[in-house]
């Protein structure tokens, strides 16, 4: 029979976790008790069997799955211990009490000090009128009891330094003269009435209106000189809307790359809003694309796409697209031109590079991504499709208008 301590010792020996002293004790135990060796062998055998179990690796896509669940915000900072709710009130009340008590004490103490000084001044005898020496008393004869001399009721006061009363003080200084500040000052100049106001109305149309020439022409004219456009398509039926938009894009000659998360959600029919980024289309072609979408959804009993809202991409979109693609697409920067350097002829090497760039990327390319919910968005750095699309982008062609078409559910 082995004791607890001996069994612990054998366990540690099996795992090779003995100190030098324990090792000596273990050797002695094995020599003294044959059953210790048996137990050690059994434990070793069990451990060996466990170690031979196959290793299970994490399923593919674990990284993407984890990242898709992460909030795009910074991890939360550790929360400080929460103080009771009443603490600030208690601190404020005690502070107020302290200030009030101190003020009261200060003023009352000053007042009583002044009255006491006055009282002392009244009771003090007139030093200048006092005799310079006490009246001499006759010495008593020896052996005769003599009553003590009669004294004044009060003993002769000690000398007291009397200071002059402090001059009366003002309770508070006079307020400063009021000079106009930012809040109190009046307006320097009266506001002139508005002469005119420029209002930009949103380009908000029913998708069916894009079948009209004038609407398409207006769309093209409105966005011809903008860096990029965002087009929100409010869909009554997202899968049908997605089919219509991708088919329309393909008919316009756009080669679409689909991100794997988007593909997975499309296959599983998970409710998702999608974003299709297209480059290489002119404003006319974009309007034509929307006209094709209108034709494709016209036959359905319930229109898959209802309203189209288009607006020029600005600073907000620039930031959003940077998050979406993991880098700035460079759509909002004007090309850098050095005025000092004269125009140079294109070298053969540059032409070769241009040819290579043109060859590796279709002229009209699109990337389909998940847009909403935000946690379902692919981390752009981890998306091979996004990286391939971005790597294949060439120079923006003149007259083209990059566009982000967002398919989102219509609010019913």
């Amino acid at each position: 029979m082995l004791t607890d301590a001996e069994l612990k010792l054998i366990t540690a020996a099996t795992d090779g976790e003995l100190s030098l002293a324990e090792e000596r004790r273990f050797v002695a135990l094995i020599a003294a008790n044959p059953s210790a060796q048996v137990v050690a062998d059994q434990l070793r055998g069990t451990s060996a069997r466990l170690r031979q179990l196959p290793i299970h690796r994490a399923p593919a896509g674990m990284v993407a799955a984890v990242l898709s669940r992460l909030s795009p915000t910074t991890p939360a900072r550790p929360r400080r211990a929460r103080s009771p709710l009443w603490l600030p009130y208690a601190v404020a009340a005690s502070l107020l009490f302290t200030v009030s008590a101190a003020s009261y004490w200060f003023f009352t103490a000053e007042e009583s000090l002044g009255s006491r000084t006055a009282r002392v001044r009244q009771t003090l005898p007139n030093i200048s009128a006092a005799p310079t020496a006490l009246p001499r008393q006759p010495l008593p004869e020896s052996g005769v009891a003599v009553a003590p001399p009669e004294r004044d009721v009060l003993p002769w006061p000690r000398e007291v330094a009397v200071t002059a009363a402090p001059p009366p003080r003002d309770i508070a200084p006079m307020p400063r003269p009021h000079a106009g500040d930012l809040i109190g000052a009046g307006i320097a100049e009266p506001i002139k009435p508005l002469q005119s106001a420029d209002l930009t109305l949103p380009f908000l149309k029913d998708v069916r209106e894009f079948e009209r020439d004038d609407i398409r022409a207006r769309f093209a004219a409105d966005f011809a000189n903008h860096p990029a456009v965002r087009i929100d398509l409010f869909a009554g039926h997202l899968p049908h809307a997605l089919d219509a938009v991708t088919a329309a894009a393909k008919s316009a000659g756009v080669v679409i790359t689909t991100d794997h998360i988007a593909r997975e959600r499309i296959n599983k029919k998970v409710p998702t809003a999608y974003a299709l980024f297209v480059e290489g289309l002119t404003p006319d072609e974009l309007a034509g694309l929307l006209a094709v979408v209108a034709k494709k959804v016209a036959d359905a009993p319930q229109p898959a796409v209802g309203t189209v809202h288009a607006y020029s991409a600005g600073a907000v979109e620039q930031r959003e697209w940077k998050d979406l693609f993991g880098r700035d697409l460079g759509l909002f920067r004007s090309p850098r031109v050095d005025p000092k350097s004269p125009a140079r002829p294109i070298s053969d090497g540059t032409i070769g590079k241009l040819k290579q760039a043109v060859g590796r990327h279709p002229a009209k390319a699109g990337l389909l991504l998940t847009y909403w919910p935000i946690p379902a968005r692919t981390a752009p750095q981890l998306s091979k499709e996004t990286q391939a699309f971005l790597a294949g982008r060439g120079e923006r062609k003149p007259g083209t208008l990059p566009a982000l078409l967002v398919l989102r559910p219509a609010v019913k």
Partner: protein, 198 residues
Amino acid sequence: MNHDDRRLIRDATAGDTTAFGELVRRYQDRLYNIAFRVVGNPEDAADVVQDAFVNAFQSLASFKGESEFFTWLYRIAFNTAISQKRKKRPTISLDAARDGEAGYDPAAGTPDAGATLERAEDERVLTAAIAKLSDEHRAVLVLKDIDGAKYEEIAATLGIPIGTVRSRLHRARLELRQLIVPQSVGVEEPSTPIFPEE
């Protein structure tokens, strides 16, 4: 903690999910293998690992770097696994592993079909036995005999003294042996627990 981990944690704390993705890539297999042995089936193990990483990201700012990142991560995963086991009854699913599903990496050297079958049977028996252990015993056993951690690391991971690690480990092995070999030889089994908890 190594320098790379420290850098990645710093970047991830600042909101760089790519850096956190690298941390996931580094530790996912080790954590998954442990989680698989603790919860007993691949689906739950994947859930535990995912939840653990997400929880770790959310509380990354509270990680002070006083311990190894994996030790801290394992604590989160272990708590997640335990709470998941409490929510649902334990199930043993070895079919996926036997069918050679993605992520299953059999031990090297399978000379013939007989040996493979023998090994698969051994795994089935051992996995079933591990699943029957208590949470405490399973945790030390998996960390020591499957993950190969040292006593000191196990103590730090589980937050218990090294003496308790020894006690629990011995009791876990004894219990496991009783489950896989009912007729244990050589030791007279006491009716009461051998080790008092420290």
